[in-house]
Each structure stands twice: as structure tokens, then as C-alpha cells.
């Protein structure tokens, strides 16, 4: 069975029709993972019971397979009367799973900020909240743009996991074609190439963002 370029080309519209789903899931999951991860890290820094709980949650999440999270949310939650759509479950699963990793990225980004920065903010009487928003977070972003971008690419590449929940993403469409035609090479190659293009696009965007964040040099 050879590779038929004409057939591959004919797969493109069908697979591309699911790019919206893939991008939506990826974008919302990136946002969700970053938000939850940042809150986890803030809680961990506050310490006390919230800090311990948060530290445990981060380690727990990072030490379990993402598929278990997806299956758990999808099959076990309904037993407790929580019924969610498969796409919602998928986004929740990816957000939670990657929040653990992003919390670690945020930690490294904050640890790299010199102690004098929060001190200067305190000497200027800025509140804790304003210090985080106007002093810590922007400098953290400069430090973590590159690893954050890598995780965003990882999240994009993890969206096909949602096939187990029957979310109609690009890989799902590719499999639909394969099971109808018994040809696997072409649809899989097309789906793979589209993912590659998207990943390269994100990397390029992150590089540009990093350059903008570093405007004016470091210090």
C-alpha cells in the first residue's frame, strides 16, 4: 500500500474542518492551566495549610497519567451527579493536568526575580496584590516565556487524547477517514503535518513575545 498524494490532499478539508475544535480546546486549556497553575503557585508561596495542600496537589497531579484524569472526570463524576459535556471534561482534564507543570514553571520564574524587587515595592508601600500584579508577574513572564511556550505546544499536542472522550478533534477526523477507507498513512500524515504547522506557529509567536517582553534589556 503506497502513499497516495492525491488521496492525502482529499483528506485535508475533512481534517481541517476540526481545526476549530482542536484550537478551541488547546487555547482554553492553556488559559485554564496557566490560571490554575498560577493560583497553585501563589497558594504554595503563602504557605501554611493552603501552601501544603497546594504543594501536594501539584506533585499529585504531575505524578498521574493524563488519561486517568480524563477517564476519571468523564466516567466517575457522573456517579456523583456531575454531568458535563465531553469537550468540557477534556478541557478541564488538560487544564488540571498541565496546571501542575505550569506551577513549577511559575515557581522557577519567580525564584529568578532578585529579592530587591519585592523589597523596593514594599518600600514604595505597594500592597501585596499590586506587587504581584505590577512587579512580580511581569518580570516572571519575561523569565518564563520560553518554557511557557513549550508547555503550550505540549497542550496543543495533547488534544488528541480527547479522542478517548469522543471529542471530534483533528485526529478523530483522521481516524474516521481511515476506518471508512482502510487507508491510514495519508490521513495520519495530514493530521501530523497540521499539528506541526500549528506548533511551529506557536513557537514563532512565543519568540516574538519574548523579544517584546525583554524590551529595554534585562537589568
Amino acid at each position: 500500500m503506497g502513499f497516495d498524494p492525491a488521496f492525502a490532499l482529499s483528506c485535508v478539508p475533512t481534517i481541517l474542518s476540526a481545526i476549530g475544535t482542536t484550537l478551541l480546546v488547546a487555547a482554553v486549556s492553556c488559559f485554564g492551566a496557566a490560571t490554575i497553575g498560577f493560583l497553585f503557585e501563589m497558594a504554595r508561596r503563602i504557605g501554611g495549610i493552603a501552601g501544603m495542600a497546594s504543594g501536594f496537589a501539584i506533585d499529585f497531579i504531575r505524578s498521574t497519567p493524563v488519561l486517568i484524569w480524563l477517564y476519571f472526570l468523564y466516567f466517575v463524576l457522573p456517579f456523583y451527579g456531575i454531568r458535563l459535556g465531553s469537550m468540557t471534561v477534556g478541557i478541564m482534564g488538560l487544564s488540571l493536568y498541565y496546571s501542575g507543570y505550569l506551577a513549577e514553571v511559575f515557581k522557577a520564574g519567580i525564584d529568578a526575580i532578585p529579592k530587591g524587587q519585592p523589597e523596593a515595592a514594599r518600600a514604595l508601600s505597594l500592597s501585596r496584590r499590586d506587587t504581584v500584579i505590577y512587579v512580580i508577574a511581569p518580570q516572571m513572564m519575561r523569565n518564563i516565556a520560553a518554557p511557557l511556550g513549550n508547555y503550550f505546544v505540549s497542550i496543543l499536542k495533547a488534544t488528541p487524547y480527547l479522542a478517548v472522550l469522543a471529542v471530534p478533534d483533528m485526529l478523530g477526523r483522521a481516524f474516521d477517514i481511515a476506518s471508512e477507507t482502510y487507508r491510514y498513512a495519508e490521513p495520519l500524515v495530514v493530521a501530523g503535518l497540521i499539528f506541526l504547522a500549528l506548533a511551529l506557529l506557536i513557537s514563532y509567536g512565543v519568540k516574538r513575545l519574548e523579544r517584546r517582553l525583554l524590551a529595554g534589556g534585562t537589568r
Binding site: 532578585p114 505597594l126 511581569p138 537589568r219
Partner: protein, 249 residues
């Protein structure tokens, strides 16, 4: 209300430990409004810790530290309000690298003093004029020399209109040729009547503007004298020795 003649800083029996290390040992110090106090001494003598206590960056375990009529460390809200009367300049500048010079100066004006952007920028520009660097308002700290950065840091601290300025070795991280431009700004500030507590080894500056020189060693104040006496032969033997060592260079 605080009368003009009341001291802005009143410290009695102040003690502080870092673990087992006794970093401040029975400190008594009064800073009158309008006074200019220079604190000197060898490194590790506790002088930085002392002025960091005055604006609440460090806590203390024993004694009383009154700032602008409030005892620091008792009630959080009152302590914060009192500390707002201070401005601080650090050895390593500590400008916010992601903000422009103007952004550095306006942040606290907008977030703490509640000014609008244009009000804050007007105030900030006035202070940048005062430290003679208004043309760099749109630059980032990383694009400035050390001396320029420290002058911006002084302007930033002045923006909130503090009643007392604290300087923590403001020229120690600077190349020799940049020290003068920073000291000139500080001298001008002193001439304007600003109350200042300055940790420095710049004895020329101390001689020119200080009313009082405080010499610290091992967490204690060993010598405390009006500037003209401190530099005469009558001082404490330990401070004489210190002066001879640093003036020899």
C-alpha cells in the same frame, strides 16, 4: 498630631536577632525633623538592618521604634501608614526593569496615592527634573548607567512626598566617576531641608551635609557626634581607627 519639633524617628532600646546573631544591640537614636544623619561603620555592623527597621522592611524583637508618631509593629494599618512617610534608596537601585523610568516613578503614585496617569506623570517629571534626568523618562533602566539609575531611584522615592529619606549605601555599587552625580543630588536634597538617614562611607558627603554622624560596630552604636566633632581628633577610639582606615584610600 505631630508637632514640627517632635522627632520623626525615635528609637529606644532596639534589639534584633537573626537566629542567634545579635544584629542590633540596644540601639538608641533620635532623628529630628530636618536632621541629616550619616550612619557609618564596617560591614556587618548592623547599619543597613537599622535603617531597614525604620521603614518596616525588617521587624525587631525588643525596644521601641517610633516613626512619625507611630510605634512600628503594633497595628498593621498604622504601621503601614507611618511607613508611607518614608522613601528608600537601595545600594543596588532596585528599579523595576520591565517599566520605563516614568513607569517606575508613577507606579506607586497611581496605585498607592491614587493619582490619575497624567497627575502622576506631572509629579514624576518634576522629580526627574530635580535629579536632572528628565530626558530619560521613556528609557528602560537597563539602558541607563548606574549613576543614572540611582538618580531615578531617588526620584522614584521622592514621588510619594516622603517626610524622611533613607539611603542604604547609595553609592557603593557605583563606578567612581558616577558617585559624584548621585552625591550632588543628595546634597541638593539636603539643602532643600529633607530629613535624611544615610548609610554611607562617603565621608566627604558626611562632612558636607551631616548634622550628626553615627558610628556602628557589632550591632551597637559606639559613637555619636555632631559631624564637626566626629571628624576632629576627639572621637571614640574605635571610630578614629575606622576613619583612618577608610580615609587612607
Amino acid at each position: 498630631m505631630l508637632a514640627q519639633s517632635d522627632p520623626i524617628v525615635g528609637i529606644q532600646g532596639l534589639n534584633k536577632w537573626f537566629g542567634a546573631l545579635h544584629v542590633l544591640n540596644d540601639i538608641d537614636l533620635t532623628v529630628a525633623s530636618g536632621a541629616r544623619v550619616v550612619v557609618c561603620g564596617p560591614s556587618g555592623s548592623g547599619k543597613s538592618t537599622l535603617i531597614r527597621c525604620i521603614n518596616g522592611l525588617e521587624s525587631y524583637q525588643e525596644g521601641v521604634l517610633r516613626l512619625a508618631g507611630t510605634t512600628l509593629g503594633h497595628k498593621a494599618r498604622e504601621t503601614a501608614a507611618a511607613c508611607r512617610q518614608t522613601g528608600m534608596v537601595f545600594q543596588s537601585f532596585n528599579l523595576f526593569p520591565h517599566l520605563t523610568v516614568l513607569g517606575n516613578c508613577t507606579l506607586a503614585l497611581r496605585r498607592v496615592a491614587g493619582k490619575t496617569r497624567s497627575e502622576a506623570e506631572d509629579i514624576a517629571m518634576a522629580h526627574l527634573e530635580k535629579v536632572r534626568i528628565p530626558e530619560k523618562a521613556r528609557s528602560y533602566p537597563g539602558q541607563l548607567s548606574g549613576g543614572q539609575q540611582q538618580r531615578v531611584a531617588i526620584a522614584r522615592a521622592l514621588c510619594l512626598n516622603p517626610r524622611i529619606m533613607l539611603f542604604d549605601e547609595p553609592t557603593s555599587a557605583l563606578d567612581p566617576e558616577m558617585i559624584k552625580e548621585v552625591l550632588d543630588v543628595m546634597v541638593a536634597l539636603a539643602r532643600d531641608g529633607m530629613t535624611m538617614v544615610c548609610v554611607t562611607h562617603e565621608m566627604g558627603f558626611a562632612r558636607e551635609v551631616a548634622d550628626e554622624v553615627v558610628f556602628m560596630d557589632g550591632g551597637s552604636i559606639l559613637d555619636r557626634a555632631p559631624a564637626r566633632d566626629f571628624f576632629s581628633a576627639s572621637g571614640h577610639p574605635r571610630s578614629r581607627l575606622f576613619l583612618e582606615t577608610i580615609l587612607r584610600h
